[in-house]
Symmetry: D2
Subunit: 398 residues, 4 copies
């Protein structure tokens, strides 16, 4: 491994001021997203040095005391709660991080806003656009910083795509086709967890996966104008988690497919499914513009494929860019080129953005998703559901 | 190069009978498809030996005498015509091959059928499903062999996909997503050729590219039940071919996007465009089934990607199959493994199927597309157009 | 399929002169290479129109009368011989094509030269550099055209690589690493065919596969200065072809590995094996130069990967070039972009080069391999063998 | 993102005992490797929970006080030293981690062993096999745990390859070809840093990159028997780091190439260079065995390509395995499948192995590299240098 970069970087950081403020973190949830967010706070100062603020892990909250107390030790939180109303009022908590299930987003976030906490909420923001609207109103009224966990905006390759589009490198955009494919519930005996119940999840892959690619569509292309969609549920009944020999009804879709129009004239497709054998976490998009194209796939998140139509003829072709150079987005904080980063680093980048905004009173967005973005994403999700139900093209209303 | 296969193959063919019948070919058109079809007839006996019949290149027909006479010499036809009505009545012609533009399919094919000629017609079969229906009626009435040029059924990798599905290797099919992407009219100064005029072409990429992926959808998955689509025309006026400083209106779509449902419950997307920079001939599909998945891309037509969900855990992954083994479809006629074939070979395989059907009075289909398939494909195309116009989901009617 | 190119091309060729001369072909061998060469002569005028000369398939020769007579019908030769001495004296034969086994190269080629025939001989030219030298002397003395079948020089992507290097696009060359991997004799019961016997084949993969990558090394980089090699034979005894329950000794190597130095200061590796499971016809090279790199793999022969170190930072990456544009080498004769060609097309390009040289009295080379190239290639092969035997670095002598 | 795994894992870890011991870490070096190792200690408990021991970051040592003090704050060490002799005697330090330059390996490691510290030393272990032998003697005499930083053994895909080979899935091994390609000193004005000076580095890419692929060769295949190599230095003089307008001599090689034989009869190649434009961190190997093949590339470290020759015919092909399933090596500690990990995670896995060995008094190896492995690797490196100097095949002596 070449270490040419190491010495230089150390010399630069040595100039950094000695006094680094702290920001108190209160975390709701200790499962998948709770782990990802907690890790990001712990790992941040190693890479982003000096950090805008040192995250102070104040408290973590969850319903199961045994598990939440264990999580508090694992992730080094000072204390834990089993009642979220206490968490959002803890005076040492300055930033409320909501990594709970979708039906636990609105109420705690609104309460935290009312307590004057800054908020980082996992996606999708809400169970419906109406609920999202209320959450947006609350954070705006409270005048706190607010961010939604659309972390794929913070993949270096995705941010590079954003930069190229902003620079006009693709010209007018003609097409955006995105598909987020997974396979994790293909087994008919996979149990009826909360993600398969409309009350808790709001929707199936429309919210879980689709919200990510809708957010990327809005981030990279612009507002969605209309959707023409179909949804389906392949496995209609599944074993209950606690009574495996009894079955309950799956009340969310297993897949959706949509033809879409954008305000700027581009057209394309949006699709998501949990029934694509062999696709583990295949968040894939292709953008075609007047002057070139871009393709991305989350399973190879360190790479971006770019085609430049104006390039010299003989060697014109798709560039496979290993997005690990020090001049690429976020990479200066990590390793020398070719030493790839992983999925978890998207959260470190995202949390850096948020802490920097809080510590230095900067705007969240346009590179991160605000509650406004979360609301608009929920609106597109609602339109997809409505189009599938009515068999008509539905204009998205914000 | 290993030549282990060579000797064995020679020994086998040496047993072949000495008497090989001839079938007289009459070709309409000498451009792109005329070249592809003529080449297939010339090249057939080298690979498929002994052939079911030797193609006898009787006559080629086109409007421009200078060009058609040159083509007759190049492709070694005995004579040429500038009037197709003479071609379809030439008594030495037994097989009428229609490689002309879309608006020249119906009338000559119907006339040829009435003259008792077998017919091979390029795709899409007709300008509309009504016209296709009349052509189907004509060939059925005349009791001649009929085939439509959906040559991608004859890519070895596609045929292998068909075999795997027939064997139940994917189980119940959940998804089919297909997109045929090209880039050849992105230049706004590309002229208003016949393919951009509704009168001559019937439609834009719906017919040119979409018909291929619709045919593959029907071949691999089953009948399409409904479509929900959008179309758009990015460049609305283009220079006239003969008067480049005047512009005329583009009367076909530049792209279409559709969410589709199949009779068997599968859902997916169909898309085609001529505005995908960097995509030269990107006919790409992915199929997800209960037990596995399949992916194909025409730009790498010698490869098929297959995922088998039932495979042993540790090494489970997408197989990249180099479809060049002697046990793969059609390959025994070509070269040892790893010596790839090209796009033109699809036509050799297709023409073999047809000549064999004629010489040995076999059924065309289900592996080749008949006029019945051509008609059904036109019906789906019509539904896509109608859905885009009405903003409603349209049920396909056959 | 877009046919924009078709009409234009036809118009151009229509201007071509009407009188096309013929060149009489005499073919020795009817197995793998006999098929590949015969096919090229048949297929040439369809693509290269008007051709410099029409190949006239005069006679084919082989020891087994039944097989050679069948081959004559299949490939449409006027007559056949079972005695090569008659073939090389046939007055209608102007070009002697030697597609026989390695031990049948020298004597027939020298006899043909003495009869004043032009010569196309399969590779490797000879069993040793001494034998190759005699063949070179014979053709030079007879003043006939001579070419060796290093057909991979005629892959469009390889020729593009050559062009890029000639234009200085890579600058000074640092590295050439090539490996030609196959798997066809991994089964210990694969019989002891002539390719595994030193008397008939001269060597194992050094000649069969290694000669190709040595030729490409000389074509693309320059003369080889020294080799440091090892060879090995994994399976030392194999069943006799005619008596499968008896075994005979394998007298050639199964694999070789060599570290090499070039006259121009570049260094690299050359390797070939028939024991690489999963590698069907993996002729792969990578070139690293001062300004960029190139990579190629025969199993995807329509693609070339190029890295340009001088490109703008953010989007710098390996280009995957689909070498199917009309401005790419040889492609104008085939199909619109994205419609890939196959392995057999290398022979069509090669035979065009030869017939053009004969018909228009042009020089063979530097883009095709002459007997001089064949001799030099044999010299490197001899050095590899010698280094492996002595355990010393061997300087190549020409 | 599916979080099905999260809850289950939390439940399991909740059972873990409450008392976790600590192990005091003393780090020498704060540059590239110092960052990578420090990060691993910090990040370990988040993933490996409960950890065998909590790393206690006691002290970090470097010559530049300003930089080392900054590093101590960044990585949260309790104190720092500028004199390594103090570090190795610090009573709170139990594990001495040597992340310094190659010429600073032997003396501090031997001193630390004499102080009874366990040792983790970066690779290559020493400047020569003689020096490595002394270090090995010292740790054996002191009876401390010892590990060398051949971290690529801890890539999940590489460990999977090891498992497959151990299970006999490849049968007898025929070939190992490895190349480690980088490009970071191609600019002739890149300065003459310590890695380009024989006194400090011992060798060029032989030690820096080659030692990694030699270690993987020994790990995966077995002992190297002989090497036949060439080396070269492309840029012979470079600017001095402190006086850029003066030049000094590059005293290490820029590249090496070697043909190798293994004790078990396999043959192959080893190559490394810093002059491969476009190759950022391309540590790539291919193994061919009797029953299959394996390929790996560090730039896509979450993937492994495997070919199983015994698979059913039609779908036989290279598997691209996304090595991110919970049943793959190390992955259960990270994220759900498809959520890839990065280069830094190899160190977390490696440090877990070491802490577990210390805390539970387990053996280091065979899955990690001991000083014995480090010594043997240095022996192969010495043989490569000697072969290049003498032009003879050199038998490796241990």
């Amino acid at each position: 491994m070449g270490d040419k970069v190491g010495f230089v970087r150390m010399a630069e950081v040595a100039k950094a001021a000695d006094r680094i403020p702290e920001i108190g973190i209160g975390m709701l949830g200790y499962a998948f997203m709770g782990k990802a967010h907690s890790h990001a706070y712990i790992d941040l100062p190693t890479f982003f040095w000096p950090p805008p603020a040192r995250p102070k892990l104040v408290a973590i909250c969850g319903r199961n005391e045994k598990l939440v107390s264990e999580a508090s030790r694992r992730y080094r939180y000072k204390r834990y709660y089993t009642d979220w109303t206490k968490l959002v009022k803890d005076p040492e908590v300055e930033l409320f991080d909501n990594a709970a299930s979708n039906d636990m987003h609105a109420q705690p976030c609104i309460a935290a806003a009312e307590s004057g906490k800054h908020i980082f909420c996992e996606k999708p923001l809400a169970l419906s656009s109406q609920e999202a609207r209320r959450m947006l109103d609350a954070v705006e009224k409270a005048n706190v910083k607010h961010m939604v966990g659309y972390n794929y905006r913070f993949v270096p390759a995705v941010r590079l795509a954003k930069t190229l589009i902003e620079e006009g490198r693709l010209g007018r955009i003609y097409h955006y086709r995105a598909r987020y494919l997974q396979e994790w519930i293909m087994d008919p005996n996979f149990p009826l967890i909360w993600k398969l119940q409309k009350e808790a999840a709001g929707s199936g892959p429309i919210g879980d996966l689709g919200s990510h690619i809708i957010d990327l569509a809005r981030f990279l292309i612009g507002e969605v104008k209309s959707v023409s969609s179909v949804t389906t549920t392949f496995i209609k009944d599944r074993p209950l988690p606690d009574q495996p020999h009894k079955k309950g009804e799956v009340t969310v879709e297993d897949a959706f497919e949509a033809a879409v129009q954008f305000d700027n004239g581009a057209v394309g497709t949006l699709e998501a499914t949990r029934f694509a054998a062999g696709r583990k976490n295949f968040n894939n998009f292709e953008i075609n513009g007047e002057k070139g194209s871009i393709e991305f796939n989350l399973e190879r998140l360190n790479e971006l494929r770019v085609y430049d139509a104006d390039e010299a003829d003989q060697t014109k072709g798709w560039h496979n860019i290993l997005v690990t150079e020090s001049y690429h987005p976020f990479i200066e904080h990590y390793w020398p080129h070719g030493h790839i980063i992983g999925w978890e680093h998207t959260f470190i980048n995202e949390v850096f953005h948020l802490l920097d905004a809080i510590a230095n009173d900067r705007k969240i967005g346009p590179y991160a998703a605000t509650f406004e973005d979360g609301y608009r994403c929920n609106s597109v999700m609602d339109a997809i559901t409505q189009s599938a139900q009515t068999g008509r093209q539905v204009a998205v209303e914000y």
